[in-house]
Each structure stands twice: as C-alpha cells, then as structure tokens.
C-alpha cells in the first residue's frame, strides 16, 4: 500500500515571495504519477501540477514547479511570486500507473494537506 505524508500542517508566506510545500511518499511501485491539488475555501479540488515518475525533468506550470526526488521519494511544490489567491489547502497525491498488460483504476492516495496562507 502507498502512503503520502505532508509534514507541514500550516505554512504562511508574504505576497510576492516564494514558498515550498513538502511531501514524501512510500511505495514499492516504479511507475506512478504524483500530483498537487489545491483546495481553496470554496472547497473545489483543483489540479495544480502533476509529475510522471519515469520523467526525470521536474514539472512546471507557470508559477508552480516541483522538485521530484525519486530515490528519496520526495515531491515538493514551489510557488513563486505568491499571490493572495494562492491561499488554500494543498494536497499531495499519488497514483499507481498500470504496468504493461495490467490495469489500474487510478485510485488517488492523498496526504493530510497543508494549509497555505498568503499575507498581503
């Protein structure tokens, strides 16, 4: 079974500064996806960024980037130029990718979440 751990229950950052959210995971799988989801006060779950484990290059989406360390099983999210609208709970999630000839229904395993507050 996979586990995902987010060790920072809460973080805060000043507007325009950079913040990094931590995530570690435990798995015996070699092929998988990792995700960061954002949940603002509206409760809507929004995909921020995703990383495929077989890709060495770190994923980037505008101000959001990840530091994926496969050997260390670490997957941190860096938010640059933080904005007030980034205030939300952030979840790290893991999904096993099916092996060749196999199937996987795509269950997401989530961490406990990190509440990020951006201060003006």
């Amino acid at each position: 079974a996979q586990t995902v751990t987010q060790s920072q229950p809460e973080m805060s950052v000043q507007e325009a500064e950079t913040v990094t959210l931590s995530c570690t995971y435990d798995t015996s799988e070699n092929n998988y996806y990792l995700f960061w989801y954002k949940q603002p006060p509206s409760r809507q779950m929004i995909l921020v960024i995703r990383q495929e484990a077989y890709k060495q290059q770190n994923a980037t989406e505008n101000r959001f980037s990840v530091n994926f360390q496969k050997a260390a099983k670490s997957f941190s999210l860096k938010i640059s130029d933080s904005q007030l609208g980034d205030t939300a709970m952030y979840f790290c999630a893991f999904m096993k990718r099916a092996n060749a000839g196999g199937t996987s229904y795509g269950k997401l395993t989530f961490g406990q979440g990190t509440i990020l507050t951006v201060h003006p």
Binding site: V4, Q44, M45, L47, F91, A98, S104, Y105, K107, F110
Partner: protein, 113 residues
C-alpha cells in the same frame, strides 16, 4: 458545460437514517469515484466505478453502498447513517486512460447528528 455536479451541497441528517448523495457528470467519463475528506486524513477513497454496472470498494467502504445504472450518475447511499460518517464527500470522474486528469465535483458537506 456543467461538468461534474453533486447534490445536495449540504445535508444534515440523524443517526440511523438513510441518505443518498448524488453525483452527475456530463462528459461520459468511464471512471467515477467517491472520496470522503476528514481533517488529518486528506481524501480517502470509498468506492469507484469503471463503467456502468461495474463498481468496487476503495479504502473505506463500510457503511456505504453505490450503484451505477447509467454512465453519468454515481449515487452514494449511507444505509444507516452514523456520526462517524459526518464528512465532506467528493465525487470525481475521468476518462478511460489512467493518464487523464481526475476531475472533482464541488463536494457535499454531510452532518450526522
């Protein structure tokens, strides 16, 4: 484009009552999921469905029942609600490929008194 919707958005019920949470998606996605969100646990999978009439258990299925007679609907029923089922419930869907994004509904906040 409505996407994925859930109803009701808020529900208060009493212990022992039956409650059904509705989920509807307009994309004809094959896969649908039910998660519950609790403080300190993130989201946990209750049930999932790979297609109409195909469902299976997730991590925390006890006390819940699902059905999927039509591709677009995936209702979740609490047959006899308990206080421990007070939670926020999310429905999600995605297309066939595991590489596709899983899209979430807006959630239903359920309180069991």
């Amino acid at each position: 484009d409505a996407g994925i919707t859930q109803s009701p958005r808020y529900k208060i019920t009493e212990t022992g009552r039956q409650v059904t949470l509705m989920c509807h998606q307009t994309w004809s996605h094959s896969y649908m999921f039910w998660y519950r969100q609790d403080l300190g646990h993130g989201l946990r999978l209750i049930y999932y469905s790979a297609a109409a009439d195909i469902t299976d258990k997730g991590e925390v299925p006890d006390g819940y029942v699902v059905s999927r007679s039509k591709t677009e609907n995936f209702p979740l029923t609490l047959e006899s609600a308990t206080r421990s089922q007070t939670s926020v419930y999310f429905c999600a869907s995605r297309r066939d490929s595991i590489a596709d994004t899983q899209y979430f509904g807006p959630g239903t906040r359920l309180t069991v008194l």
